[in-house]
């Protein structure tokens, strides 16, 4: 299927995905959660096309940011690999569900995830110091990372892996169904279930997102949901945006960004809920 899109619209797509990914990048996540609502509500794209473009941009952002996380030795690669079994299974389920879910349900599900993200994003303060080393009973996934702020190496343990795996399955499902990285679900899951330090959670989640998204993106690519004339500009903008976002993250106060993003997320959630009812009306009229 070859869809020709006007050049002007392609530039709009590029600009919008740049901004969406910059917003996401400020929090160390992919911009899918901002991108899909904007593409469907303002770009008037079919939600499957928007999800197809977004899921590829999620992979691109994950790969683009992997360098900085891996370089800082924050990623727990072994743990990521094991959790990826759960997330890819979830993604597989999500792809299957996306074929049977009506579009209006997708909009509603998206609104719920947006609200959940807004809640997650509210500023929280937690301190961690060098004294939290585990001592004896070294386990397979336990690891350590160098913390430049505290100036020491922090050791950590991985707890409650089965619960973590179950939550990851859900995160993978949501990721495939809605075309988002769902880092917003993975990070809290690792935080609460596995009790990982937040930096390790973000880095490991970002690493996993690429593999999880590849499971669904591959299927969507073959199914024709990934329209090259739309996904192309979206990916181009997303990579630049995520790198810009990471730069801004270093320059601006974290709490202020978070409050701004909470407002954006709430606004998008409202739009998606309105879209849900709009879709129902349109379908009822046909």
């Amino acid at each position: 299927m070859l869809i020709i899109v006007p050049v002007g619209f392609q530039f709009w797509l590029l600009a919008v995905s740049l901004v969406a990914s910059a917003l996401g990048g400020m929090l160390g996540m992919a911009g899918g959660i901002f991108l899909v609502p904007v593409l469907t509500v303002f770009g008037r794209l079919d939600i499957h096309t928007a999800i197809g473009a977004s899921i590829v941009s999620v992979i691109a952002c994950s790969c683009a940011s992997a360098k900085s996380f891996l370089g800082a030795h924050l990623t727990n690669v072994r743990l990521a690999l094991v959790l990826e079994v759960a997330t890819t299974c979830g993604a597989l389920t999500g792809v299957l569900l996306s074929r049977v879910f009506p579009a209006s349900y997708l909009f509603l599900a998206f609104a719920l995830v947006l609200l959940l993200s807004a809640q997650q994003m509210l500023p929280r303060h937690r301190k961690r110091d060098c004294a939290s080393s585990p001592g004896q009973d070294w386990h397979l996934f336990d690891s350590s990372y160098p913390d430049p702020v505290l100036g020491c190496t922090i050791q950590y343990r991985v707890r409650r892996l089965p619960l973590g795996m179950a939550l990851m399955y859900g995160a993978g499902l949501v990721s495939a169904l809605l075309g988002i990285g769902s880092g917003v679900l993975k990070v809290p899951a690792m935080d609460t279930a596995l009790r990982l330090p937040i930096k390790v959670s973000s880095a490991t989640s970002s690493f996993m997102i690429g593999v999880t998204a590849a499971a669904s993106a591959g299927a969507y690519f073959i199914l024709g949901d990934v329209v090259s004339s739309i996904a192309g500009p979206v990916v181009l903008g997303s990579v630049i945006g995520s790198l810009l976002g990471a730069r801004i993250l270093l320059a601006v106060s974290n709490d202020r960004i978070r409050l701004l993003l909470v407002a954006v997320l709430l606004l998008l959630a409202a739009q998606m809920i309105m879209q849900t009812f709009g879709i129902i009306r349109i379908n009822g009229g046909v």
Partner: protein, 127 residues
């Protein structure tokens, strides 16, 4: 600890490959997009192919990551993690084959695309 240094070196190598891969795929899409923008019919066709190739490369990057992990684990004779890496790769291929199987099924995608798409844009051509 020799195992730690090996992991660090592996992480650095992986970071480098992902970074090169990202820019290669990005450049391919940009090239395709530029070709498409030159309104010539032939270059537009080529452009679309390049964009698709770039997108496919992005989807392949995580597969390359997993393969690198698998090779490293096999070299270390870490068969448990090798098995996990193979399992994740198998799920990815299962997902791909799922796409291929469903593709054979009657397509309902084309109509909704054009229906939701056309009113906003005014000039969208489907062919």
């Amino acid at each position: 600890m020799s195992s730690t240094t090996l992991t660090r070196r592996f992480e650095n190598r992986l970071a480098k490959i992902l970074s090169y891969g990202t820019w290669l795929a990005w450049g391919t899409i940009l090239l395709g997009g530029t070709l498409s923008a030159l309104t010539d019919r032939i270059t537009a066709g080529w452009g679309s192919t390049f964009v698709s190739a770039g997108i496919a490369l992005f989807i392949l990057l995580p597969v390359i990551t997993l393969t690198m992990l698998l090779i490293t684990f096999l070299k270390d004779r870490d068969y448990g993690f090798s098995a996990v890496a193979i399992l994740v790769l198998a799920i990815l291929f299962l997902s791909l084959s799922l796409g291929i199987i469903s593709r054979g099924a009657p397509k309902k995608l084309v109509t909704p695309h054009s229906r939701h798409f056309a009113p906003a844009l005014g000039a969208v051509f489907c062919r």
